[in-house]
Symmetry: D2
Subunit: 133 residues, 4 copies
């Protein structure tokens, strides 16, 4: 399979290795609880604290948001939409959850491959089947 | 070329024709002025006032945001992320403008083709070349 | 709408203008007749006779194949998959037609926008409803 | 991470489990050797020997071709382009390799997630650095 990188793989590395992993890591930012069948917003930012380049030769191409094995949406970035300087690219996903979520973001850098965020759990109040418990 | 539909084409039609066009029309919602080199948010909503179906047989597949002939980004929607009821799907685009914008949203319905929004002008304060005036 | 360029817009221009349009124009290459419900192949080549650059700053990003207002498929090109020299990029679409086709290819250059091919008609033998005639 | 399924995970299962995995597995079909800087064709077929449904509720959405951690291209399938019956969907990738390839196909089913093919090695004659050996 294509290797799926994450910050954890590099957390024990040198400062420069950690900076490399830091700037490539997608970070999920959202509420930890929401209502069923209401629009829910999830922001994905590239880079924990270090900005990633956005040059023609080196930039992020797309970001996906997944709920376990289910794809929620894909945002295809056009490089020129984000200027020429290093940047924390942010992408916003809006969708309508039915059940509690275990979210992961995947993001593809044209030089350094596919990176995943940490998993984020979101409790969905009123989810299907909840009345049974 | 693939036909590019817009509400205007149908505005003189019967009530049901206008409802058809209404629910298919992407609408751009954003500030009319922003700063250069700052992230700028543009919301695109499908449907002026009428909700569009979101069934397996009939749903929106993707939304693009364009600045004149330049593509800003593409959001690929997964149908199941938006429930099974008619809905105003909303997609959020975040990007970093350098120059003033003439925005159009394009959105593709799997049954009724490619629809465009009205054009929206956004003044970008401090845009390149502005110091010359 | 985003401007939709085609070779015809530039055919009356100078030699350099025509070369510009030539290298940006998608060309559809396929049989003019096929069988219903059989896989059918359509090749789209970028550039009539002049090769288009494939540099980080200037390259084609995606190619779509349309049958009138219906999207058949989208091929997202990764620039680095095609080397660094000017090239006739080729993309192959395989699908299963039910009815006769009026095909157009659309292709997006990151510098010069969205270009369409000429329309190509493909007769589909045994298409739905044909038995009525 | 989103789970990445492959036939091997299910090879020890019952006949119905193996049929489930069989029909979801992407298969790479290509030459095992090619020339550097020449267009190279890779066919990806969904399903080893069992056809996958292509209904509005259950179908394949996209196919990607990867060389290790590098994405070669993404083909976004429109369901209606492939009829309503179970089918071996085929997608054709054409690209220009510089170095020997370790290919994987990834394909996303809207009901059963992301599936990968077996890895296929392709020797690229005249690859960069080969003159050194």
């Amino acid at each position: 399979m294509p290797r799926l990188f994450s910050y954890d793989h590099f957390a024990g590395g040198s400062e420069s290795v950690r900076a490399f992993a830091n700037k490539h890591s997608p970070v999920i930012i959202c509420d930890t609880e929401t209502q069923r069948n209401k629009p829910f917003n999830v922001k994905v930012r590239i880079g924990k604290t270090v900005k990633h380049p956005n040059s023609p030769e080196h930039h992020y191409q797309y970001i996906q948001l997944w709920n376990l094995e289910t794809l929620i949406a894909t945002i295809k970035l056009e490089r020129a939409s984000f200027g020429d300087l290093p940047i924390h690219i942010e992408a916003n996903f809006t969708f309508v959850p039915k059940v509690s979520l275990r979210l992961r973001a995947l993001a593809y850098c044209n030089k350094h491959g596919l990176w995943q965020s940490e998993e984020v759990f979101v409790k969905v109040i009123g989810e299907e089947g909840e009345e049974l418990h």
